[in-house]
Symmetry: C2
DNA sequence: ACAATCTTTCAGAACATACTGAAACTTCGG
DNA sequence: CCGAAGTTTCAGTATGTTCTGAAAGATTGT
């Protein structure tokens, strides 16, 4: 009856994954609960209902509903209607690389670009001042790099390949 | 007397830069005030005193002190003692690329690595479950890529050059 | 050693974010 | 068209973060 007394290795492992993934999600600007819901769906071989998720994570249905909405908005969770069942079911984990790239691209578009644009605009009016010029050049280059990175999906996919194969490590050890 | 009535183009531009840079900083996990202080130092051709910063940004000296402490901790601001002056002065903007890389590396080390490690550990205990395996592979690759990226400073510097020159854009336009 | 000047710290206030639970809404079978 | 089952929304509450201002701590000139 009391969960903390009995030992459930699998459930424990899932709890720890859920917590760690929530942590990771919060680094990338999601709230921890949203990350936790995502984790649960990612390690689940079957689709889960809202109620099952809320129960497993010990959060209210309302909260679970909001988290799922957010995750669907980011395109990382899909809702499924099972015929003959009133509950909706949710799945995650489809095409993880594509999803990561999409999230990064979208965050850049929504958050980075406007602020960088404002900053560059303000810096233009400070032209002539050495410090301002340095900063403008730096930020301009950064912006350009970020844009290159997301200009097309292939760029990122190739880049991932490049990095995996050990780009930049001149002296290969052992 | 009333600042908002008189027009100060330069001061306005700095205000807008400060605000935008605060926004950018918050994307990367700093608080807005810390970002604002950093902006002020970045566009300033001379070193500024704590009092000057607090006054210019309309924040308490206490807060300014904390922000400067944080910025020094991240190695993006340096404190200078002017001989014959009791106040300390602060400068920023020295070697921006190096600083960016250092910040990214440190954030990875402090925030990403521990969470990713926990997640992978938990996933190991779920071996055999298809969804868990997929996630483990994905996260493992991601971790490996991130490590490659920061394995040595040259990797990132070369990468920046590569991206600036338009890596990944097969059809070069115009 | 004292006083003046500046900086740091930190308790509590102000502000911001996230969560709950209940009401409103939707869907579907009968 | 009604009632049952499920989902969404949102006002209020709880939790977490950031800021202020005052007290304590440094440092320096006399």
């Amino acid at each position: 009856m009391d969960k903390s007394k009995k030992i459930h290795p699998r459930e424990d492992a899932i709890d720890r994954l859920v917590e760690a993934w929530g942590q990771l999600a919060s680094i990338f600007g999601f709230n921890r609960s949203t990350g936790r819901v995502s984790a649960l769906l990612l390690v689940s071989d079957e689709a889960l209902s809202l109620s099952a998720i809320a129960e497993r994570l010990q959060i209210s249905r309302g909260n679970a509903s909001m988290c799922l909405k957010e995750l669907r908005r980011w395109g990382v969770v899909r809702r499924i209607a099972e015929p003959g069942d009133r509950q909706d079911y949710y799945v995650g984990g489809e095409d993880l690389w594509r999803q990561m790239i999409e999230i990064a691209r979208e965050r850049k578009r929504r958050e980075f670009d406007p602020a960088a644009h404002d900053a560059l605009e303000a810096l233009e009016e400070l032209e002539g001042e050495p410090a301002a010029n340095r900063l403008a050049t730096h930020l301009g280059t950064l912006d350009q790099i970020a844009s290159q990175l997301f200009a097309n999906d292939d760029a990122l996919v190739s880049l991932i390949g490049l990095l995996q194969s050990g780009f930049g490590n001149k002296g290969v050890q052992s």
